[in-house]
Amino acid sequence: MISSSYLVEAFAPGLSAAQLATAAERMRTAAAELTNGGTPVAYARTIYLPGDETCFHLLEASSLAAVEAVTASAELTVARIVPAIEQH
């Protein structure tokens, strides 16, 4: 059961639109692979702040470890992974 949201913060200098799409797709794919492997992780969205050269990926997972596994699988250089609370 997916219970929590996590915000993944990564240093991402000078991303073009295509590169951003690729980064998001890698996260989505990695989350799907982990889910298929038995650890449910859902990719929610990606937000990029060009001025800060920082990319935020929002994931839903049961644990921090699951999110770390996704970021490792996506070969992402992570600055932080922190719990997040979403309000729609």
């Binding site: 240093f11 200098p13 800060d52 050269e53 920082t54 600055a79």
Partner: protein
């Protein structure tokens, strides 16, 4: 800073690599605030460039090293000098090696221009093997000697020189030294890479990688705002948060305070070690041990290294960042700083270093220390480190009690002289003006030196006004020196007559001073001016000068005498003596690394060899002169004159016209009528040899006007009057031809010069021929030929034979004419006087009545045709004549058309058919 990652600078790095990997030479300036990441970028560039095959040489001068003469140059060129000793031309190698203390006797050292030429030659030799990358980190701390030499050498890089320069510079830092590439090829190729702040993300990455910290967003944003994206400050603030109980209080610190706090947390011995290291260039563990004690130093250094303040590279200490050094030094109290400098003075390795530390330890006036610095400045000057000498001299002024006017004036004068020698005219002028404002024994010398500065920088008229003021001195030694310079300056400005009066006064002053060496140079000056004035006493004055000057212990006096003597011998047409004297002084200038003297001597040798008719040696000197002139920017009007004269002799008409026109324009702009006269005379001779009498007349009339204005007596500089006579004769003006010759004859009678006779006889002979008195003309010209042994100028002897041959042909004495003209042809061939050779051949061809095939060809066409007929390939012809292969091909096409031939064989046969029989 050990991480190789450049944190958000990848695009900028790619740009830098692109510039350096592009067309060479090139220069890149990485500029930004302190701590912004310039050095990190630079290191990434150097690593990549080394992988790409560049030979990287680098220097990272620190603020404490600004006074270290040639410090940066030693970093950049030390290894190259040793590696390339066998490849770099010996005089250039010696100059650079001597400056770096790798050769020489250590007592005297070459001037900065010669060192710069040595560096340029070494860089080029290195670039032959692989492209060279010169890297200077923090160029604003470059010592003045290195900056002068480096900028000079880099400004003279040519297209194709495989050299790249990368420098970093702190934005808004006042530069201690001028490092100006403006107006040069590499300066125009300068790319500027401003380094700006890091983004929030990049700062976070930096902190995470370097300190292992992952910050909350609020804290990260606060740090980013406080440090404004400066990586060094970000790290300091992040470190501070690590040592605080919570994140927030640490952020109230500035980066500077954070650095101070980091240092203050260290043990007292470590703090003292850091302060000592910040106060001296090139600190070592050994140095610290000598001041702190061996037992304390290890612990102190370890603590400083652990705190990431210092880096220990096998005993050599560096600061993690230059800001840490300057911060440490500036935050110490003045008392603490003075104590450190006092202790550093006590263990200084050289007297220069000791003097510098004592100066920095001084508080207020200190006459004893001022005297020490004055002596050290003098010693520095003898070692050739002029910039260091100038700095020490100025320090001695600063410490001199204001009440001691005599000492202040003396030291201001010494500092002004040192700045002049170092090439810093603006600063020199300021110091000399201050010295000149203090009444006393040094005032007149200060005024005189202002005059010599004005001579080079402002103009002759201001120079003369200052010399006049300086002559109010009663010191005969000083008067002699002033009058000598004044005499030479006046000779070039207003002619030799007034100059001779001044030279006489110089001799009288030297006699009163009872200084035989000084008298020798004064007599040599008088001889030089006297020769121009056509004074018959000039050779005797020179002989007396040489006798007095024998065994001279002062090398500067000795070379002045030798160089002046060489000029006098040349002007007196004693060409073997001139050659010998020039060669001796040239060798001396190469050994001492005096580029200005080297240029003067090469010019003199070049003209001497040209007059002697040795074109191989002449061309060799022309090549060196062109290089030196381009590299030093000195004496452009005289050099253009010399090059123009050689080109004219060889028959390169257009280039010769251009060079001589340039010389005349430069001389006019510099108010140098004597040089302008010589260039006009050379231009006239060129036009005469091209068969352009009208153009010749205009140039020669200009020369005549200038000669009258200057009041020149009979000398080599006046002999163009015979060419004027020839022009009048060609134009059918026999009276004017006769008058020009007679006026010259009157001057020659006064000067008692034996070699005048053959020239005068030629002039009279040409005038008689123009008047239709052919028998008389033949007699006069035959007598000129008979006396030609008096005239040591092969070109003029050959021209006399040509003149006689022409007149004999007109007198219908064909056999005699043919013999004389064939002799002239041989003479012109021997000395490679191409234009006169064509004239002589054309004249010879008229005797036989054959269609003069050669006459249809221009001078250039005939040269090309002759070489082709000798069997040379087009490439060989191009190389011989300094033209392109395509020019040779186009010229040959025209020649074939004009002569109606279709092959090289037919061409050779046609030329042979019109060749005079041997």
């Amino acid at each position: 800073m050990s991480s190789a990652e450049t944190f958000g600078r990848d695009d900028q790095l790619a740009l830098l690599h692109g510039w350096i990997g592009g067309e060479l030479p090139t220069a890149v300036l990485i500029e930004g605030d302190a701590g912004i990441g310039k050095t990190t970028l630079l290191r990434a560039v150097l690593d990549e460039s080394a992988r790409a095959g560049f030979h990287v040489v680098q220097s990272a001068p620190a603020e404490a090293e600004v006074s270290l003469a040639y410090g940066a140059l030693a970093d950049l060129a030390g290894v190259l000098v040793e590696e390339l000793a066998d490849v770099v031309p010996a005089p250039r190698w010696r100059a650079l090696a001597a400056a770096l203390g790798l050769s020489g006797d250590g007592r005297t050292a070459p001037g900065e221009t010669s060192v710069a030429l040595g560096l340029l030659a070494t860089l080029r030799a290195a670039a032959e093997r692989s492209p060279v990358l010169i890297a200077i980190d923090d160029v604003q701390w470059l010592d003045e000697s290195s900056a002068t030499v480096l900028a000079f050498a880099l400004r003279r890089l040519h297209a194709g020189d495989r050299v790249a320069v990368v420098i970093t510079r702190r934005a808004n830092a006042p530069a201690r030294a001028r490092f100006d590439l403006h107006g040069s090829l590499v300066g125009e190729a300068l790319h500027v890479a401003p380094v700006g702040p890091l983004s929030v993300g990049a700062v976070h990455r930096l902190i995470r990688v370097r300190l292992g910290l992952s910050l909350g967003r609020r804290q990260l944003l606060e740090i980013h705002e406080a440090c404004r994206g400066n990586p060094l400050h970000a790290l300091e603030l992040a470190r501070a948060t690590r040592t605080e109980a919570s994140g927030a209080p640490g952020l109230r610190l500035t980066a500077g305070n954070a650095m101070d706090a980091r240092i203050s947390r260290l043990p007292s011995a470590a703090r003292q070690a850091i302060l000592i290291a910040s106060a001296t260039p090139r600190p070592t563990v050994e140095l610290l041990a000598s001041l702190l004690g061996a037992s304390a130093v290890d612990e102190a250094v370890r603590a400083a290294v652990t705190a990431e303040i210092l880096i220990d590279r096998g005993g050599q200490l560096e600061f993690e960042h230059p800001l840490l050094a300057s911060r440490s030094y500036e935050s110490a109290t003045p008392v603490a700083r003075r104590r450190v400098h006092e202790s550093l003075a006590s263990v200084a390795a050289t007297s220069g270093e000791r003097a510098r530390h004592l100066a920095l330890a001084a508080e207020g006036d200190d006459e004893e220390l001022a005297a020490v610095l004055e002596q050290e400045a003098e010693a520095s000057l003898l070692r050739g480190t002029r910039m260091a000498a100038a700095e020490l001299a100025e320090e001695s002024v600063r410490l001199t009690p204001s009440s001691d006017l005599d000492a202040r004036a003396r030291r201001l004068l010494a500092a002004g002289r040192a700045r002049t020698d170092a090439g810093d005219s603006d600063r020199a002028r300021g110091l000399l003006e201050r010295a000149a404002s203090i009444a006393g024994p040094h005032q007149h010398e200060a005024v005189w030196r202002l005059g010599t500065l004005a001579d080079v920088t402002v103009g002759i008229r201001e120079t003369i006004a200052l010399y006049e003021r300086a002559l109010e001195t009663s010191d005969d030694t000083l008067r002699t020196r002033i009058l000598q310079r004044y005499a030479i300056t006046t000779a070039y400005l207003t002619g030799p007559r007034r100059a001779l009066d001044l030279a006489d006064a110089a001799v009288a002053a030297a006699e009163r001073a009872a200084d035989s060496q000084l008298l020798a140079t004064a007599l040599a000056t008088k001889a030089a001016v006297g020769i121009m004035a056509g004074d018959p006493g000039a050779p005797d004055w020179l002989a007396r000068a040489r006798q007095l000057g024998q065994g001279d212990a002062d090398p500067r006096q000795s070379w002045t005498l030798g160089a002046l003597g060489a000029d006098v011998s040349r002007m007196a047409l004693d060409l073997p003596a001139a050659r010998s004297a020039y060669e001796i002084e040239l060798e001396r200038s190469l050994i001492e690394g005096e580029a200005a003297t080297e240029l003067w001597m090469r010019l003199g040798l070049c003209i001497t060899e040209l007059l002697s008719g040795d074109l191989a040696r002449t061309s060799e000197h022309v090549r060196e002169i062109r290089d030196l002139s381009e590299q030093t920017g000195m004496k452009r009007d005289v050099i253009a004159l010399g090059i123009g004269a050689v080109l004219a002799h060889l028959g390169h008409v257009d280039e010769a016209r251009s060079a001589l026109a340039e010389s005349r324009a430069l001389a006019r702009a510099d108010e140098s009528p004597l040089v302008e006269l010589r260039a006009a005379a050379a231009a006239g001779a060129l036009e005469l040899s091209c068969g352009q009498p009208e153009a010749a007349a205009r140039a020669l009339d200009d020369a005549h006007e200038l000669a009258e204005l200057l009041g020149l007596g009979f000398s080599i500089y006046r002999c163009f009057e015979i060419d004027r006579a020839e022009v009048h004769a060609l134009a059918g003006r026999p009276q004017e031809a006769a008058r020009a010759t007679s006026e010259l004859e009157a001057l020659a009678e006064h000067s008692n010069v034996t070699w005048a006779a053959p020239l005068l006889l030629r002039g009279h002979g040409l005038a008689a021929a123009a008047d239709g008195r052919l028998d008389e003309a033949v007699a006069l010209l035959e007598q000129a030929v008979a006396e030609e042994h008096l005239l040591p100028l092969p070109l003029e002897r050959a021209r006399t034979r040509l003149a006689l041959g022409r007149v004999l042909r007109r007198a219908k004495k064909k056999a005699a004419a043919r013999a004389m003209l064939e002799s002239a042809v041989l003479d012109f061939q021997t000395i490679e006087a191409h234009l006169w050779l064509l004239e002589a051949r054309a004249e010879l061809a008229r005797i036989g009545g054959h269609p003069p095939a050669r006459q249809d060809l221009t001078a250039t066409e005939l040269r090309v045709a002759t070489l082709v007929a000798e069997g040379r390939t087009n490439r060989e012809v191009a190389a011989s004549l300094f033209i392109t292969v395509s020019t040779v091909e186009a010229t040959l096409t025209r020649i074939y058309r004009k002569l109606g031939v279709r092959s090289r064989t037919e061409l050779a046969n046609r030329l042979h058919a019109t060749e005079p029989n041997a």
